[in-house]
């Protein structure tokens, strides 16, 4: 990890609501190295999307209130960048791929025009030159007949093609960091695999850093080097993919892994984590996960465990990490 692409320290985000403040993100640190692929995993509502949008400064304030200690991107301190400064970073230096290509593309504009905008905005190309670049970009992500497809409106393309249009758009200016928010959730399984492989190939080939936000551990296994597991606004575990899949330390990570059906699972049933994610305004005292945790002891109810470092750069937020008391079988 010689070169850092992104360093995020102590990100906190709250949303005001009629009943009080919604505590979406509670002090998250993220490090992404050059060419590295990071996954941010958690259930919906755990704050993972808010975290990823905060990195791009796309969280609207008002109403949200965001605070962070450090945000360094490609060697620049962008923490205090003004909105207009951010505009020239976004798209050019860091790009985003959203979940649902149908709603993420402007329905009344051709796909080509929407990619053209990237080149016209960030590379000051004219319309014609931009279109040539667009055609190339579409070709790179494996869109057949790119010149023709560029003239199509989003609704005229298939789901997989639309997602590729988003990929082409994100890679258009060859940014340093791409944030992919649930990039394949809306797609069929077979198309998912195709889109993921395009994403991974492009990322490796062009040495782009990648932050994948997902709840889907199969995506994580496919694409990430390092995983951050997030629960109720906090990072509960950070580990390399291999480490995590081999031996999760946090009971929540273990629960997530156990709930993934696998072909080797002869028992043929899902293991569920009991209970549900706490409401962001009614978080329990102590460790947020303790009401759902098999191993919770009195200490867990009383105070929040710190994110403590373990060997090989792993970090776990748990007083009683699982490494000492066996595998996931009894979760």
């Amino acid at each position: 990890m010689a070169e850092q692409t992104l360093t995020l320290r102590n990100l906190k985000v709250v949303f005001p609501s009629g009943m009080g403040l919604i505590r979406a993100v509670e002090g998250v640190d993220i490090d992404i190295g050059k060419g590295e692929s990071i996954a941010l995993v958690g259930e919906s509502g755990c704050g993972k999307s808010v975290t990823s949008m905060s990195i791009m400064k796309l969280i609207e304030s008002p109403p949200a209130i965001t605070k962070m200690d450090q945000l360094t991107f490609a060697g620049d301190d962008i923490k205090d960048y003004t909105p207009s400064q951010m505009q020239s970073v976004r798209g050019k230096m860091m790009a985003m791929i959203f979940q649902d290509a149908m709603t993420s593309l402007n329905p009344v504009m051709t796909c080509g025009k929407q990619i053209d905008e990237m080149f016209m905005r960030h590379m000051q190309l004219n319309k014609k030159a931009a279109r040539e670049e667009t055609v190339k970009a579409l070709e790179l992500v494996g869109v057949p007949e790119p010149r023709k497809r560029a003239k199509n409106f989003p609704h005229e393309l298939s789901g997989g093609m639309r997602q590729r249009v988003l990929l082409a758009m994100a890679f258009a200016c060859m940014p340093k960091l791409i944030i992919a928010d649930e990039p394949t959730t809306a797609l069929d399984v077979t198309i998912q695999a195709q889109v993921l492989s395009v994403l991974r190939d492009m990322q490796k080939k062009h040495d782009v850093s990648l932050l994948v936000v997902t709840h889907d551990l199969s995506v994580v296994a496919n694409i990430a080097d390092t995983v951050y597991v997030m629960y109720s606004g906090k990072i509960v575990e950070k580990a390399s993919v291999k480490q995590l899949f081999k031996q999760p330390f946090h009971p929540y990570s273990a629960g997530l892994l156990a709930s993934v059906p696998s072909l080797s699972d002869t028992a043929g049933h899902f293991v569920q984590i009991p209970g549900s994610v706490p409401h962001p305004m009614k978080k329990p005292t102590g460790c947020y996960f303790h009401p759902r945790c098999h191993y919770a002891k009195d200490k867990c109810k009383a105070s929040m465990p710190p994110l403590s470092a373990h060997d090989d750069g792993r970090q776990v937020r748990c007083f009683y990490p699982l490494k000492t008391n066996g595998g996931t079988s009894n979760v």
Partner: protein, 339 residues
């Protein structure tokens, strides 16, 4: 036949209970409170009009009080040409507005929902017939059509109501129809179909209840709309000629020279009557719409909360998120967002 009556009866009984619960929800909104209070007030005024009105509004015999400005005896003054007490007329006018507005509104809810459910659930020729009818009624300008129909059918009170209903059901039935198209594919309706329930049974027991909030909203909003239309009609002198109504008061004011002689009270008073009634029903309709579809309003509310946030409170919440934060802080940071 008996079964049909029974199920209709049961339907309305259930609705009645639902309405009581619903009024509570409307009351919870500030706007809803305003609307409900005003409607209750208007209903009381309409029912007890003879006791509230200090003078006989029909009395045109007393010629000494012509054109008086508002005073303690004549709260809203008197008319220029006939010397009638305007406050008393205003009180009596409530009756016409409320009866025409509310009964048309309720009838529209019934007709509109029945036709909408039929169009959506039965589909086919019934659907296209009803929807073509809606399209046709939507392109004929309403007020001229009402005028022509009153000319042909007569200007009796009830005929006017029926005309309003015959024209006013279109919007609701279209909305209900699209809702039914969604509900039709829902699992519980499919289950009822599989278990062999009759079409009529499914429409009454499974589909109509799914539209009940919409019906209350429609009743409130179309009552308001029809009160405006009725006022317009009687303003043109085409309403029921025997009744005192706010629209007719305005027409009398205009023809009686209120504008020319500066008798502003004669114009303002009925205007306020119309405004109050329409406003009250609109509030209720809008609150129900908000309950049905809360997204729009919430967003604006959040900005207000944001503006009123106490920065030190936000700071406390942020600090409580830090690693070294102590036990209990997380829970103490709840509540009191308005700081």
């Amino acid at each position: 036949m008996k079964a049909v009556l029974k199920s209709i009866g049961r339907f309305f009984l259930k609705r009645f209970k639902g309405i009581r619960r619903f009024i509570k929800r409307v009351w919870a909104h500030r706007q809803g409170k305003i609307g409900l209070t005003m409607v209750t007030f208007l209903v009381i005024v309409a029912v007890f009009a003879p006791w509230i009105a200090p003078f006989d509004p029909y009395d045109v015999a007393e010629r000494t009080t012509k054109g008086l400005p508002p005073s303690t005896t004549h709260l809203l003054g008197t008319t220029i040409n006939t010397g009638q007490d305007i406050f008393s007329m205003l009180v009596y006018g409530t009756r016409v507005s409320l009866i025409v507005g509310v009964s048309s509104g309720v009838l529209i809810a019934i007709v509109g929902s029945v036709l909408g459910v039929m169009a959506g659930y039965i589909g086919g020729a019934v659907d296209s017939f009803i929807m073509r009818l809606v399209d046709v009624l939507l392109v004929i300008p309403t007020l001229p059509l009402v005028i022509v129909l009153t000319n042909v059918l007569g200007r009796d009170f009830w005929i006017i109501i029926l005309i309003f209903v015959a024209i006013g059901w279109t919007g609701l039935s279209r909305t209900i129809r699209s809702l039914v198209l969604v509900l039709k594919n829902s699992n519980y309706v499919k289950a009822a179909e599989l278990s062999g329930a009759s079409r009529f049974h499914i429409m009454i027991r499974h589909i109509l209840p799914g539209t009940s909030h919409l019906l209350i909203m429609s009743t409130a909003l179309s009552s308001a709309g029809i009160m405006v239309a009725e006022a317009g009609l009687s303003f043109l002198g085409l309403g029921d000629p025997t009744a005192i109504s706010w629209g007719k008061m305005l027409a009398d004011a205009q023809s009686g020279g209120a504008l020319l002689f500066g008798a502003w009270w004669w114009i303002i008073a009925p205007g306020i009557g119309i405004f109050m009634a329409v406003f009250a029903f609109m509030r209720i309709g809008i609150v129900v719409e908000e309950i049905l579809n809360p997204r729009m309003k919430q967003s604006s509310g959040v900005y207000k909360i944001f503006k009123n946030l106490n920065s030190s409170y936000v700071e406390d919440v942020f600090n409580s998120m830090d690693e070294h934060a102590q036990i209990g802080e997380a829970s103490s940071a709840k509540g009191g967002a308005h700081g």
